[in-house]
Symmetry: C2
Subunit: 208 residues, 2 copies
Amino acid sequence: MKRIAESTVRRLSLYLRFLEDFEKRSIGTISSDELAARGSTTSAQVRKDLSFFGSFGKRGLGYSVPELLARLRQILGLDHEWHVVIVGAGKIGAALAQYRGFSQRGFRIVALYDSDPEKVGRTVDGLQIRPMSALTAESHHHRPDIAVLAVPATAAQEVADIVVAAGVRAILNFAPQQLQVPDTVALKEVNMAIELEGLSFALTNLRM
Amino acid sequence: MKRIAESTVRRLSLYLRFLEDFEKRSIGTISSDELAARGSTTSAQVRKDLSFFGSFGKRGLGYSVPELLARLRQILGLDHEWHVVIVGAGKIGAALAQYRGFSQRGFRIVALYDSDPEKVGRTVDGLQIRPMSALTAESHHHRPDIAVLAVPATAAQEVADIVVAAGVRAILNFAPQQLQVPDTVALKEVNMAIELEGLSFALTNLRM
DNA sequence: GACGTCTTGTGAATTTCTTCACAAATTACG
DNA sequence: CGTAATTTGTGAAGAAATTCACAAGACGTC
Ligand SMILES: NC(=O)c1ccc[n+]([C@@H]2O[C@H](COP(=O)([O-])OP(=O)(O)OC[C@H]3O[C@@H](n4cnc5c(N)ncnc54)[C@H](O)[C@@H]3O)[C@@H](O)[C@H]2O)c1
Ligand SMILES: NC(=O)c1ccc[n+]([C@@H]2O[C@H](COP(=O)([O-])OP(=O)(O)OC[C@H]3O[C@@H](n4cnc5c(N)ncnc54)[C@H](O)[C@@H]3O)[C@@H](O)[C@H]2O)c1
């Protein structure tokens, strides 16, 4: 199969959201044009994105909302549950642990770890904070697929090494720190400072 | 001036981080190669990115760290303070309000708003939560440049309209909701669910 | 069942982004 | 001063992503 661009995958996630909305409003069929309008893209882009994975539409009619939903879930790997551990039960880690949006999409938070003895043992949203020393052993039981890193930048690489050794195959990193991981491990960064700087650039250079 | 690609701006932010680190370690001069190595890009990419804004290096030598730092800060508009309001003092909004990383880079949080009367009046990190009804009037005084939206998706568009009317010219949106704003307003989305879905896709389709 | 309307799926064209590759500058050093 | 070693800045080439544009299929109607 041809390599799929990251931008395509991001758009598929968007389409999924729009389709969920269309389904909620009991709309049975949708055209690439309508889908495109919701995502400020073009109908050709929508069709091209989908065409990498097959032909899901009917000419003259469009796409069946429930069918395309099922296909997209399958393509994105959302047709089953993923096990997620969060490392770092600070402000961001705690917010993420409580966030409903993740479990809704099949990302089940199986454990929350922190190195601070003060925090260990406390409960966040029904989940007890566990000590870092327990991560490796407990991973044999939980079998986490994804680790979310919400630790200080200085600890991020060390923690990444630990979770990779514990069998995690994907990392979502919130620490502003470039991580090194084996290329068998998928890695995404969320860097809010970079987004803000992007806005700063836009304010400075565009218009005015 | 030629249009600058978003990917270029993101890389400039990264270079800035690396340079700050080099400066901390008292390294006076850096080559595009060394900068590239830190950001898993190429030296040609680094030079091309910088070349959109001028020639800052010395042939045979590289770039002066303090000089390039200053240039990048200027290019990104980080050579002065931006006023930021956060709307939504929930889990994410509170975490962001307390985050040191923003003020460090000149993003000063001037106000925090919420519509919940229970929350209004409480203090987060020295900042009193203000009622939504006060946003417009207080903006005449604070003159916010950037609004961070940390409200439920259902409220996001409504809040966006309010902050735009109040004179905000850039929005960082954490709600999983596609916003409509005038094209004089810069907009960035942070969507953590999409990042997780990207990892899910990678786990599903790459290897195995 | 022929005709008109609609919308997909996809090669081709276009645009955008990245990498290559090398002349021009600069330094180091004998 | 001359030569070797670096490293920038940038056109040109190459790769990747997006948009165009249209043939082909599906439906509704008469
Ligand atoms: N809070 C925000 O709004 C925000 C925004 C953007 C980025 N970030 C980044 O997210 C990360 C966490 O930020 P935060 O505000 O939640 O910080 P925080 O200090 O509230 O939380 C960090 C947590 O990590 C724990 N920790 C430290 N070292 C550890 C280790 N080696 N192993 C396990 N746990 C460890 C600490 O005990 C603490 O509970 C930071 O890298 C920060 O830069 C935060
Ligand atoms: N918590 C997370 O980890 C997380 C992760 C990803 C995305 N998000 C998104 O961020 C947003 C906020 O999430 P949260 O977890 O902080 O939710 P939250 O419920 O803790 O906070 C939302 C806050 O917004 C306030 N609010 C509601 N309507 C408002 C309005 N019209 N005007 C002003 N304030 C209003 C509420 O009173 C509340 O304090 C949501 O859109 C959520 O989907 C959150």
